[in-house]
Symmetry: C2
Subunit: 394 residues, 2 copies
């Protein structure tokens, strides 16, 4: 068979992935060498043709170093040509079949220059979102319109109250898709209109982000319809609609809308510590590479199981140097309450979006007033205003 | 807030999902009740508005029963309207945020009649694929063109040899996307042409299935181009391009091509036994619902870690009654070798596609001859022909 193969030239540019592989060392090395084959040529080494298929196209184990928990970190490099310059195939090289191997976790991407240029990342990034909103120097605030089952008029009233109350980013709950309770187009028109009306009254620039959970063939059409109807951003769940759908929306110059990503469906990638993908690689690196300006994930202590160190690693990865790719905003969420704001602010500082959903709806003083209190809390330097509106002595 | 909400009517049709939840019973019940809220309204129960949002839109715990390993099976029903009739949102209701909850595994779908009609499932199914191929009564055979790095002409020569040797389904390796080694359109044209030439010579109806790993906005265009170029089917990785991309391709009447699904990127959903999705629900039920005529998964004992019972559960789920949705063909793969054929046939019987990739390329008698031996092995009733071509006494 070997003589039937014809090798193709590669540029020499390689990118890397670091996999944490269960030990002992000999096992880890064998697994790392298997990954080099599995993610590219899918042939045993003895069957590789002569020439540069076996030399350059195949993954290359660059380094194997001891890591915590008796594991080893295997840095595997790949020719940039293996991706064809397309995100779904980059995901395949990084994670395709290796995702089926127990005891292997993708912990870090090391993209090469042409990949970073190719995928571009967030259109706005941290600074661009702040410029869009006209908010320079405090944590940004987001909330979610809910619950599913509410009609468009009522959701629009909620959007109006949130925008009047000063919330920066008013998004649909991620479960609001195209249900008969509040059909997509009707809801987007009404909520975008309500936010525009509030902005006209306040002089602020609150943005409404509808959920873009749509069938494959309608997704881009809905994204453009959202813009036409007045939406100022989009909420995308790459775990439901595909990673490249998010990248496509983010990269579309005729849309030019900020993208907030939601983690729905992605839990299994991070939950098992010895397989899948690290929190930092998934919610930091991959979300950025795929264009998310703001990245929602469950903060520790809410309804989900991320640890403090998971959350720290995500926040760090949203801002680490990544060539021309802009930093994203971390959006800790998942059952956050107003009374946790001081703690959240100590943890994240001001380079963050706090997403508080249900707890705002439960405040006795009503939605608009609760939003106003929230804005006051994050507008005061340090933690001078507490959840009940009183000032502390700090 | 409650008075701002307006309830919407629901039809009363509900579908269910069964989640396996870690015990003890009180914990499992609390988690199951949390799932009912999390997957729909995302509000604490005390904040639900009066009317049918809190009564019908919210998930409903229908049953909680003891399960193996001190766990409990929670059957949760949802109003069919929560999906909006769209697959990404169905996935969200089944798996969205709950995928982030440790100790919860989606083990079974119980779709309702309108969902089954809506999504349709495989266009061809087991019988349709056999009719297309003209092979009534033996295991079907598939192989993969590889390795990445090979040029289109050489891949086409391999496709020709496989088709001449009698392989039924000749697919691209799933890592062949649109790389410079063998650009997508050129490769598809050449390989489809080679298979057509072989079919003209043999009178058989071998089908060539290119890999459809494409950017979001090009995917449907490539699917149609594949058909125009002579491809007889498509290989789709829903973990890379999105589940609804696969459904869309399967449901497209102007394509009318059989779809083979590949598990790239989906490992984390099944690998951790206490979270994610069961093998049967993912590779059986969800793949069928999303239109896969044939479902590739790693058979036990190959390069991956599925157990015999995982594989049995998948094979069973591809054929279990599912209203109007046709059965899919199970495609055990992942490092299968010719010498395992007798064992595989004992395990699966004849209602199966055996996918043998690299091992065919490594046979000393060359690719076409190895394919012919493989066809002879599965054409003989029982296990009369062994891997080396000799007949047994059985």
């Amino acid at each position: 068979v070997a003589e039937e193969m014809v090798s193709a030239a590669v540029s020499g540019e390689r990118f890397s992935a670091v996999y944490r592989v269960a030990g002992p060392e000999e096992r880890a090395r064998a697994v790392a060498e298997a990954i080099c084959l599995e993610q590219t040529v899918e042939l045993p080494a003895r069957l590789l043709p002569p020439g540069n298929v076996g030399r350059d196209v195949v993954g290359r184990l660059e380094d194997l170093s001891p890591a915590p928990d008796s594991a080893y970190d295997a840095r595997v490099s790949f020719a940039v040509e293996t991706t064809g310059g397309e995100l779904p195939q980059l995901l395949n090289v990084l994670l395709g079949n290796v995702s089926l191997m127990p005891g292997v976790r993708l912990i870090r991407l090391e993209p090469s220059p042409s990949l970073l240029r190719r995928f571009g990342g967030p259109r706005f990034g941290r600074d661009g979102v702040r410029r869009l909103l006209g908010v320079a120097d405090r944590p940004l605030l987001a909330t979610a319109l809910k619950p599913m089952g509410t009609d468009s008029a009522a959701l629009a009233r909620m959007a109006f109250a949130c925008a009047m109350g000063g919330i920066d980013l008013v998004k649909d709950d991620h479960g609001l898709a195209n249900q008969p309770f509040a059909p997509w187009r009707e809801r987007v028109a009404r909520c975008a209109g309500a936010v525009a009306e509030a902005n006209a009254a306040t002089g602020r620039r609150t943005v409404y982000l509808p959920t873009l959970t749509a069938p494959h063939a309608e997704l881009l059409e809905r994204a453009h319809a959202a813009r036409a109807l007045g939406a100022g951003g989009l909420l995308v769940c790459p775990g439901l609609v595909g990673w490249d759908a998010m990248r496509t929306v983010a990269a579309d110059d005729t849309l030019a809308l900020p993208v907030m990503s939601h983690p729905a469906g992605l839990g299994p990638y991070v939950l098992s510590p010895a397989s899948g993908v690290s929190h930092a690689a998934l919610f930091g690196q991959l979300m950025r590479l795929a264009g998310a300006d703001a990245v929602i994930y469950p903060h520790t202590g809410g309804r989900f199981a991320f640890t403090e160190s998971d959350c720290r690693s995500i926040a760090d990865a949203t801002a680490e140097p990544m060539g021309p790719v802009r930093p994203s905003l971390p959006v800790p969420a998942g059952g956050m309450r107003l009374d946790r704001l001081p703690e959240l602010r100590r943890f994240y500082g001001d380079a963050v979006v706090f997403l508080i959903g249900g707890d705002l709806l439960g405040q006795p003083d009503g939605l608009r007033s609760a939003c106003e209190r929230l804005v006051a809390m994050v507008s005061a330097p340090g933690q001078e205003v507490t959840a009940d509106g009183s000032r502390t002595d700090g």
